[in-house]
């Protein structure tokens, strides 16, 4: 079993990138999945800054909410030119058969020339997507298209 101290880890995938994120709560596993995704793009340890974006989303199920959350962050990264490193998921709720998320993402405004980007993520896929609760907490598995 993965230690709950580990926030995330990368797994083998031939063409794309697969990772698992862990958390004691659903909110935490969403935060760690976002961190795992941004660490594909850049070493987030080298990023600082407090430019904030609020993310509020609604999706038909929990797994789709995870894909939508990560896709939204990817969109904000590209369009608002912010590389995120800190995530605070305030609440994930189930209401009338739908799931919603309210979160804050913080990061640094970037200039392509000034940041040593590692890889470009094209999109977040539904392939091998998992979001499960086990005895030690939550586990999410995501494949991103490179």
């Amino acid at each position: 079993m993965p230690s709950q101290r580990k926030k995330y880890e990368y797994l083998e995938h031939t063409a794309d990138i697969k990772f698992q994120a862990y958390g004691d709560t659903l909110e935490e596993v969403f935060e760690n999945a976002a961190l795992a995704m941004f660490n594909v793009i850049i070493d987030t340890e080298k990023v600082s800054g407090e430019t904030e974006r609020e993310v509020i989303l609604r999706s038909p199920d929990m797994e789709s909410l995870l894909v939508d959350w990560l896709s939204e962050l990817l969109y904000l990264f590209e369009v608002d030119e912010i590389v995120f490193w800190k995530f605070q998921v305030k609440e994930i709720r189930e209401e009338k058969g739908e799931y919603s998320i309210k979160a804050l993402a913080s990061g640094e405004n970037y200039y392509p020339e000034s940041h040593p980007f590692e890889s470009e993520i094209k999109a977040v896929t539904y392939n091998q997507l998992e979001l499960k609760k086990n005895t030690v907490g939550w586990k999410a598995q995501v494949v991103v298209d490179i």
């Binding site: 063409a15 793009i41 939508d68 369009v79 040593p116 980007f117 470009e120 539904y126 298209d145 490179i146």
Partner: protein, 500 residues
Amino acid sequence: MVESENTFTEESGTESVHRGVKSMVRKLSDNDWEIPKGQVPKMRVPGRLFVSENLLEGIEPETIDQIANVATLPGIQKYSMAMPDAHLGYGFAIGGVAAFDAEEGVISPGGVGFDINCGVRLIRTNLQKEEVVPHIKRLTDELFNKVPAGVGGKSRFRASDKELDSVFLEGAKWAVEAGYGVDADVEHCEGNGCLEGADTSHVSTKARKRGKPQLGTLGSGNHFLEVQYVDKIYDREVASAFGLEEGQVTVMVHCGSRGAGHQICTDHLKELSRAVKKYGIEIPDKQLTCAPAQSKEAQNYFKAMLCAANYAWANRQMITHWTRESFEKVFGRDADDMGMSLLYDVAHNVAKLEDHIIDGRKKEVYVHRKGATRAFPAGHPEVPSAYRDVGQPVLIPGSMGTHSFILCGAKGSMDISFGSACHGAGRIMSRAHAKKEFHGQTIKEKLEAHGITVRATHPSVIAEEAPGVYRSSSEVVNVVHELGIASKVARVIPLGVAKG
């Protein structure tokens, strides 16, 4: 490779991996394997995998399952197939081709992929290798500086909303009219660089926002801009029709629809995941989300996908223009004087409404090609008049530092593969593994020792895309040649590569 060739036998493999794969397929002939119905539940047709016995060893069992999964979708015709460069994708395998009845079938974004109309074009020159080699470092630098690449790479051109609409509707034609090329460029693109039926009302504000600053950029990953020379001619007659000869310098552009296409796919996947429930379609993998071909949801996706496909053609057209400018600057000559004309431009990731003969009867089908190239033979009305007597040019990029191939569509493609062939080499090693195995700077130096100049935004890109992470493109190309779906015409070797 040699060792495994010697030890590989029909009955038992040397490793558990290919023993597993062999038990999933049935040999029909050399290069042709059937994935029988029953590989996964509810297959409507069998699967077909076009690989040599040697390449079969490298195919992952999950890829076989993905080919089989596609065979469960409604309205699929003949069989779900994969080309010799097949590898694990999401939903559909990369290298996958599937045709669905235009009335009874489905349209699936997973059969196209996120990078809609990722594709390749080849620009001819009348320069000889010897004329270019002394200037290759400067030329590669110039191309790298002129064509933005890499994560977050922004274009020097910022499209207005009106211009973006024209890009989505008119593709390469818009670019040429805006001054990025000549009329002949458009005539030498698949579908004249513009697919009809695009409708911008199905393109979200998000897709527009991502698309605007990226028009005229290369992107990252396996995309590249490469100066090459023809080192081998396989078929003199066809090569002459294509205007190719030994020693001639060519330029290859490999990129797609950038963030606009990625966002269009993401947006419509979400819509279609609702539709799949609404229409009660059973799918074995969420990434195979689809809707009945004539439903509002499927048609909305299709019309938006056409916008992205056209964006990609405009994108490659602008890069062509800057390529011509780079050559003009370095050689101090006019692009026309250097014979810089477009040989052809093909899409690798696209769905199209085409006519095919099925069971002796002409039928309209939505052909999905995900990591596969259209390969129409001689005489097909969609082949540009200049090539109609020999067949459509099929461009197969190699991995960084290795050969690329120019083929022509052959007769067998219409019988065997819905007019399709392979698209590349096919990845065999993960990016993470590649980064551990290879060191970007070392690879760069090795390639330079072989006379290949590489410029990339980041050394890790070079490691991730090292030649060793792909299977040999010559082996892949030999399969489609032997099957008679596309014939080898010429081989090119890189001199200078610019990467994201």
